[in-house]
Amino acid sequence: MIIWLLSDYDHRKHLAFKSLLARFSAAYPDTHIEFSVKSRHSLWESLFAHLRDPKRNPLADVMEIPQNWTELFSKLGMLSDLSSSLEALSQRRYPDFILKELCRHEDSRAYSAPWWLEAPALFYRPQALKDAVEDPDKELASWEGFRAALDRVRAPARRGNFRELSVPGSSGSVSVADVLPRVWGRRGGLFSDDFNRATFSREETAGGIEDWLELAVSGKIELFSADRFENGPRPAEDCAFIISSRKIQGAGRSGLKMLPYPGYPSGGGLMLVYNLAVSASTVDHGAAAAFVAWAMEPRNASAFAESFGVFPCLKSVFEERLRDEKETVVYRRLFSAPELKPNIMVYPTAELLLERALWNLSLKIARRDYEREDLTRELIMAQGEADYLLSLY
């Protein structure tokens, strides 16, 4: 059996999966498993390569996919229905906000099983904010408050590598993953509520993207960071703020505190969910589904998620983790009104269109020839393409 795992900026995920597989192999010595770690881009290419030429480009038996790829690839006939072979799915043992986007149009079928989720949040070091922020809970609740605090933060003496803000998950450029939490915070989105048209250039959406780009324009985040290439992500001790959707390793030791993502005064926000899917072309659906069922067992799902600072999706262990969290209060606020990216057919492509627009803008910002009109133009073009896609699919 072959498994494709999505790559992660945090190598702990890969190691956690390797150890998960070792335990599975010990429990089921007759099942031979190989896995490879694919980037999001490469997984996308592999899935379409399979569609174009299935014989030359076989799919893995089990694949980790972003939750909102499910509708697209199930519609293209590439994923197996897991509802009858997975108890967690048939018994609907997931929080409601996850179930809502699992299968938009069908209640009886499910083409992927939610595995783990992450919630973007703001981490700060009170010591670094001493002269800049008096009441972090209040002042950092809004984006404007957070932004003003960023301007007030000063590097402490003898800290040459100090950064006001660090984004450990960054890929170098401004990406969709960076901007969407802020877009959601402004109540924007890529499509209208009825999914009949794209809304990239709507004020709330464009404003959310602009808020994040402004961080890059003003130098609060460094694009294509040379420092990151040379030294890797900045240690928490060197940063005043960190925006991360993972629990940060050694957060307590570094004196980090946590708050909801700025701009969600009442809590809630965009959550990112990752699922396991079984390919429709697998020769042994039983074995593949059995692996997914095993990975979804509370103990396994919990241990895997815990090892790289995310939450398991299974309701029982999700709630248990929420109870046991040191930052329970913050997480309860985060999960008070969670939202997921819509699981509709054209959404993943729309994200690619926005990604291309953000790449072009990132290059412009890095070259210092970015202007506000560039954003408007890129968003209008991307929106036009997304609208055209909606008319086709």
Binding site: Y9, E45, G172, A226, D227, V346, L392
Partner: protein, 507 residues
């Protein structure tokens, strides 16, 4: 020492077979990590235009993984030096020890051009701060090892190119056959689109044809990435500048900016035969947003002429078929076509034990119409009769101009009563028609039809029998005053009664 190092490090590379670039990079990073006790090794491609290093593969802590990260080297750093000088460079930072081994290959343009495509980048080897740094000797050995390994890179490239080449050869030979046979197959457009999808596998292929008469670009078929084909006949685009971008493309007025935006994942291919545009083929990778490879674009463009010819031929073929099977005047199928369909429908009726009715109609006094008003008026009568008949039938019904003014209509799954109802509707509509005759006193002409109906299985159990009985019924109407409808069963009953009456009279 040097010799043993060569034995130790030189044996593994060069012997393996790699299934493409990714597999090669993964093997290279795993091998160098193992040989030099590294904590991590990463493969970066360098983009000279942006000055960015693009991470694509990494091996760390015993796991190989693909990853995407675009970063730039710090000016003056070891990485920047390695890129500038194409020589290995090492550095020690608080993050650990690093050794940068640059590479540069030039390989042939896979699109078949004569240019070479440079692949430029570096491999970063790293050890955690707690471990020993790279000594000068070790750096040299690691760099040499990697270089000898990367010399095999051409094999991985060759494998990828070979796959493409293999696919292209198959496409050329088989698609040529597909387009050539498109003329002979019943659903030729479907055949052409299927052929394109089998060998290219685009997200979508759409075919539009120009309807010159109505100045429209009309949708024909669309094939998706899974090869499923559906009709897009509902799409009709006025062939006017500015009406739609497809119309602009066909008219040669599309904007450069628009084409530029889409050029990587959409190909708009106007189909032209002898300089006349007949349609538009659109292939796209819009859903996947994947670039259509230049060689694929080139090949599809080279097929453009053949596709256009195949499309045009199949349209001509349809036209010829239409002319040979349909009567130009009434637009009704002709007798040859009818015989073929009658056989099919009769077998169907027999097999599924369904009724089948035959309606035989004849325009009353048609010879007199021709003789009195001339053939032009006679043709008008036939034309109108054809129009009324076609507009009153179900999709499964099949009419035919059987000869002269005789029209036969097959009504599958229809009983005698249903056939009679249809005949009455036809008679009524025809009787209400007024054919203008400017030179006559009345200025117009009215006409009627005599109709005979037979049904399977009640009246006959063979095709010939059915036609014969319908003709009998028609003859009975004609001999009883015309302008009426008769079911053969009624005629037979009447005949029987008449025969009995005659017999009684005799006795």
């Amino acid at each position: 020492m040097k010799k043993s190092a060569k034995n130790l490090y030189g044996a593994a590379p060069g012997q393996a077979f790699y299934e493409g670039r990714d597999a090669f990079m993964k093997a290279a990073l795993e091998a160098v990590s193992e040989q030099f006790a590294l904590d991590g090794a990463s493969f970066y491609e360098y983009e000279e235009k942006t000055g960015l290093l693009r991470l694509s593969q990494r091996h760390a802590y015993g796991v190989s993984f693909e990853h995407e990260e675009n970063l730039r080297p710090l000016p003056g750093s070891a990485a920047a030096r390695a890129i500038e000088t194409l020589a290995a460079a090492s550095a020690k930072t608080p993050g650990g020890s690093f050794l940068y081994s640059p590479f540069r290959f030039d390989y042939c343009d896979p699109s078949g051009g004569h240019s070479v495509i440079p692949c430029f980048g570096l491999v970063r080897m790293e050890r955690s701060p707690r471990k020993r740094r790279f000594s000068a000797a070790e750096s040299a050995r690691a760099d040499a090892y990697l270089r000898s390994y990367l010399r095999d890179y051409y094999k991985a490239e060759f494998f990828s190119l070979h796959r493409k080449y293999d696919k292209n050869v198959t496409a050329i030979t088989e698609l040529t056959e597909v387009f050539a046979t498109a003329l002979r197959v019943r659903e030729s457009f479907r055949h052409i689109l299927s052929g394109i999808q089998t060998y290219f596998g685009f997200d979508r292929v759409r075919l539009y044809l120009i309807d010159e008469k109505n100045r429209k670009l009309k949708g024909e078929l669309s094939a998706d990435i899974r090869g499923q084909i559906k009709s897009i006949a509902y799409e009709e685009i006025p062939l006017e500048a500015g009406a739609h971008r497809f119309a602009d493309i066909v008219l040669g007025r599309s904007s450069g900016a628009f084409m530029e935006r889409y050029k990587d994942c959409v190909l708009y291919m106007p189909l032209a035969v002898q300089g006349v545009t007949i349609g538009l083929l659109i292939v796209d990778n819009l859903l996947s947003q994947q670039r259509i490879e230049p060689e694929e674009l080139a090949m599809l463009k080279s097929f453009g002429g053949q596709i256009a010819l195949a499309v045009d031929n199949s349209r001509l073929f349809d036209k010829v078929e239409e002319l040979s099977l349909y009567d130009e005047l009434t637009k009704l199928p002709m007798r040859r076509y009818f015989n073929q369909r009658f056989q099919e429908e009769f077998y169907r009726a027999e097999r599924f034990k369904q009724p089948l009715a035959v309606v035989w109609a004849d325009i009353d006094y048609f010879k007199e119409v021709n003789d009195t008003y001339g053939h032009q008026i006679g043709d008008k009568v036939l034309k109108e009769a054809g129009r009324v008949i076609l507009s009153n039938l179900r999709k499964i019904d099949f009419p035919c101009r059987y000869g002269g003014d005789e029209i036969v209509i097959l009504l599958p799954q229809a009983t005698g009563m249903e056939a009679q109802r249809l005949s009455q509707r036809l008679s009524q509509e025809l009787a209400e028609l007024r054919i203008p005759v400017p030179f006559s006193k009345t200025k117009e002409l009215r006409f009627t039809m005599s109709i005979g109906v037979s049904t399977f299985p009640q009246d006959a159990s063979t095709m010939e029998g059915l036609l014969e009985k319908a003709d009998d019924a028609l003859y009975w109407v004609k001999s009883h005053g015309r302008g009426k409808i008769a079911l053969y069963s009624d005629v037979a009953e009447e005949k029987k009664k008449a025969a009995e009456a005659a017999e009684t009279k005799k006795t």
